[in-house]
């Protein structure tokens, strides 16, 4: 079933079945890594997937997919890599150049990524949000038919404080939170022992507090970073690693959620 796109939705994406935002409160928790690997895992599960990088100031999608700036006049967007349709600010500007923009321009760019890029027929469009609760988030939740949001956190309290704000924001704008995923949960050393480097239980605690599902733990694996930096997400490069298994499980949970979850109803049009 297509997501609701009522008469007031500025952007209706009739070909996109599920529009999922990957968000966090704090930066540096691995949102982009989670978004990229979730997109790849869903694609490997046979879904048609797009990944939109809504982080205008610090786009990460180009690096993670081994791409860079392209000639806008010759390249049709979205780009495609590993069977995933991609759009990012990083395709439009030199990676060494800073995007120094005020909020309204960010909102405009996010809007045009959604509305002017021909996404075509997709089962999932994953949106990699910038950290925080600012312009990009507000634009998307006001104007796009979001199916739901996934909150990424690390186990520590510092990350949780801000992740709570993320959950609160989606509640305020009535976008369903699909659940909380805990990144960088633990590190398994060569002797098989688990080390909780950033603390334990944060993700589960936040999920319980917010009354949303806990979607699981993603272990620390240095290969996640090296694969990302080398332009091939870890799920694809090391499909047999434990962290990849965790991403595949996350993708399966998301797929199941989409089947069981009742679609949020579009607001009725006003009759004059």
């Amino acid at each position: 079933m297509p997501p609701p796109s009522g008469p007031g939705q500025k952007f209706s994406l009739p070909g996109v079945k599920h529009l999922i935002a990957v968000a966090s409160g704090k930066g540096g928790v691995g949102k982009s890594t989670v978004a990229a690997n979730l997109a790849v895992a869903l694609q490997m599960a046979g879904q048609r997937v797009g990944l939109m990088d809504a982080d205008i100031y610090g786009p990460s999608v180009p690096l993670m997919f081994g791409l860079g700036q392209v000639d806008q006049t010759r390249t049709p967007f979205p780009l495609e890599k590993f069977g995933i349709k991609l759009m990012s600010m990083g395709f439009l500007v030199d990676p060494n150049q800073a995007v120094i923009w005020r909020g309204p321009k960010v909102a405009q760019a996010v809007g045009s990524f959604l509305a002017q890029v021909p996404w075509g027929e997709l089962d999932f469009l994953i949106i990699d949000l910038p950290p925080g609760t600012g312009d990009a988030q507000l634009t998307l939740s006001q104007q796009a038919p979001l199916t739901g949001a996934i909150i990424v956190t690390t186990p520590g309290e510092v990350s949780l404080i801000d992740a709570r704000k993320g959950v609160k924001m989606f509640e305020e704008v009535r976008v369903p939170v699909l659940g909380v995923i805990e990144n960088m949960s633990h590190f398994t050393s060569a002797d098989g022992q688990k080390h909780a480097i950033f603390g334990t239980g944060g993700g589960a605690k936040l999920a319980a507090e917010a009354g949303v599902p806990f979607l699981g733990e993603l272990p620390i694996d240095p290969r996640v970073a090296t694969a990302g930096d080398a332009g091939e997400p870890v799920v694809r490069k090391y499909p047999d690693s434990p962290v990849s298994a965790a991403y595949v499980a996350l993708a399966q949970t998301v797929l199941r959620e989409m089947v069981t979850r009742p679609q949020a109803n579009a607001l009725p049009a006003v009759e004059f």
Partner: protein, 115 residues
């Protein structure tokens, strides 16, 4: 407000909207009350100032007369944006606000099965 509490229909009824909520409540929200509670930054600012007994209406306000919405569009899953006959359209009214500004009316007989 619980996430599954939604308006089922919003209809103009004289100088008010008649809102039917998913929990069965039917309420009217007068246009004047909505206009007085416009949540935009400009109106919030105006309300924060002490009332000016000598306020002069702008030509536009005079021409518009009583506040009447000319459009009311859903915003995402959580609010409606109203465009008024005086041109003001900055206010985004959350469902919460609509619910709180409403005055419950007795449900009309024809919409309910006879007891």
């Amino acid at each position: 407000m619980p996430a599954d509490l939604l308006p089922l229909s919003i209809k103009r009824d004289g100088v008010a909207f008649r809102v039917e909520w998913s929990d069965g409540l039917v309420a009217t929200v007068p246009f004047q009350k909505l206009r007085d509670h416009c949540p935009c930054a400009g109106c919030n600012d105006e309300r924060a100032k002490p009332a000016d007994p000598f306020r002069v209406l702008s030509a536009r306000e005079v021409a518009a007369g009583l506040p009447v919405p000319v459009a009311m569009k859903p915003v995402g899953h959580y609010a409606y944006q109203i465009t008024w006959n005086d041109g003001h359209d900055a206010g985004i009214f959350t469902l919460d606000a609509l619910r709180h500004l409403g005055q419950p009316v007795a449900p009309s007989k024809d919409t309910h099965a006879p007891a």
